[in-house]
Amino acid sequence: MIQFVNVTKVYPNAHAPSLNDVTLGIGRGEFVFLVGPSGAGKSSLMKLLYREELPTAGKVLMEGKDVAKLKDQDVPFLRRSLGVIFQDFKLLPERTVFDNVAFALECTDVPRREVIRRVPAALELVGLRHKTHSKCQELSGGEQQRVAVARAIVRNPVLIVADEPTGNLDPENSYAIMKLLSDVNQMGATVVVATHAKNIVNQMKKRVVAIEKGCIVRDEERGTYGYES
């Protein structure tokens, strides 16, 4: 489903490439942890997926299509097919839980009837139905990240990209979020998670891809974190 073919990414004014000749394939329905030290290139890899960045060299193929060659006006349609989750949640704090999740649909002109049907279902899945009308700024960190997950899954994406989704959460909430992502994966979505959560990676026994200095150094089915945290 996703293929990185000899991908190199060099940021302007950087001393070394963030990604150096990376080749990686991720199949449909897979759950992949990206691990490695800070600054190893995990986030760069993810940004190439939702085309916030373009590769300096090489190809990023999604369902066979070269993401880098998409026209500007087609980029929004790529992003509609995936859900992105961040460490800092990226919510609108003064708006309600419902509004934040609905936002992803309203921004793409989904009819109101459909919004009213899909948002509660997504909130149900992340266990936040009872907080529908709370403002996001009133929620705990774990709850806010669950809102972000609900927003990512509300349009049934084929791919979920999560960049350190548990970075700001305590272990209990971290586990809950990873469990949620695993559930979404069970429902058919491909999930790619960059993380430093050693215990969870070790416990979940999923595919682990380790990146160091822009290169893939390890790729294991049912792998472990492999670093001292």
Binding site: Q73, P76, F77, L78, R80, F103, E106, C107, T108, D109
Partner: protein
């Protein structure tokens, strides 16, 4: 694009304006001042054009008949008799290109002058009953461009001492008209740029205030047009309200000026307010809206590059 999306965009635009009302008001006022100058220029140009065409239509030749009071080598020494005067008028009528020729006695001419002077006709009382004017033939040409040729032909008719036509005034007015049009075009261009920059600055602040929202919109797959929509609406709104403010002031001023001119300088032709203000309001609102929209686009271009 459904109706609800437009309503949402309009709500966002209003929310943005009420979020920083002083900034919005300042922006509207600046746009209004620019468009005010623009509308004054437009009215000036319209009236000059009107005056020129009115004067052009009124161009007529005055051929003055010989009189003993004003000695002229071309003229007989004796005063012309009535039948001679009539013969001259008949000859004038036969000059090619003449549409109409009518005899105007010196007494009639004085009466006409009194009428033209209107409230200031008292000046003529200083003449102490003397009439300095001469008998003349009022000639209208079939074609305004022919007045010079006709005037030359008429001058050759014995009994006519000289002929005048208002071409020099028309030329002067045309030159003035051109100068105003060229100078006005330059000024209008500057004002248009100023208006676009004003709106774009306001919108830039609005965009900055909502940069987080915009980045999320981009992430969830909103198109650039979807993101632009509320800001465009805000820009257009600022432009249109600015235009309406400008037109309220211009309309009031023009109404006062035309009333004053009609009362005090009746021979100066001006377009009646009812005839021009409606169209000008419409044109200025469209221009204000377009410039506001353009201003928004200018400031959004940079923000939407991801």
């Amino acid at each position: 694009m459904n109706l609800r999306a437009w309503v949402t965009a309009a709500r966002d635009a209003v929310r943005s304006m009420t979020h920083s009302p002083l900034m919005s008001l300042a922006s509207m006022a600046t746009v209004a001042v620019s468009l005010l100058v623009l509308s004054v220029m437009a009215l000036l140009a319209l009236n000059l054009k009107y005056a020129t065409s009115t004067v052009e239509q009124q161009v007529e030749i005055r051929a003055y008949l010989c009189t003993a009071q004003v000695p002229n080598t071309k003229c007989p020494k004796d005063e012309l008799k009535e039948d001679q005067k009539q013969a001259i008028v008949d000859k004038v009528k036969k000059v090619p290109g003449v549409k109409n020729a009518a005899f105007v006695s010196r007494d009639q001419a004085l009466e006409e002058m009194k009428k033209q002077f209107g409230p200031q006709k008292d000046i003529l009382d200083d003449l102490d009953g003397e009439n300095p004017l001469r008998d003349s033939v009022k000639i209208q040409a079939l074609d305004t461009n022919q007045v010079k040729v006709i005037a030359e032909a008429v001058l050759k008719i014995p009994g006519i001492s000289d002929a005048n036509y208002g071409q020099e005034y028309v030329d002067l007015l045309l030159a003035f008209n051109r100068a105003v049009n060229i100078g006005g075009a330059g000024l209008v261009l500057l004002l248009i740029i100023a208006t676009v920059l004003t709106v774009s600055n306001t919108i830039r602040l609005a965009v900055y205030a909502r940069r987080r929202e915009i980045s999320i919109m981009k992430l969830v797959g909103a198109t650039d047009w979807f993101i632009r929509r509320p800001f465009m609406m805000e820009g257009i709104f600022l432009g249109v309200v600015g235009a309406l403010l400008a037109m309220a002031l211009t309309g009031y001023g023009y109404d006062r000026i035309t009333t004053y001119v009609n009362l005090n300088i009746p021979f100066l032709p001006m377009r009646p307010p009812g005839e021009v203000l409606g169209n000008l309001t419409l044109a200025l609102s469209l221009l204000g809206g377009a410039l506001g929209g353009l201003g928004s686009l200018v400031s959004l271009r940079r923000f939407l590059k991801v």
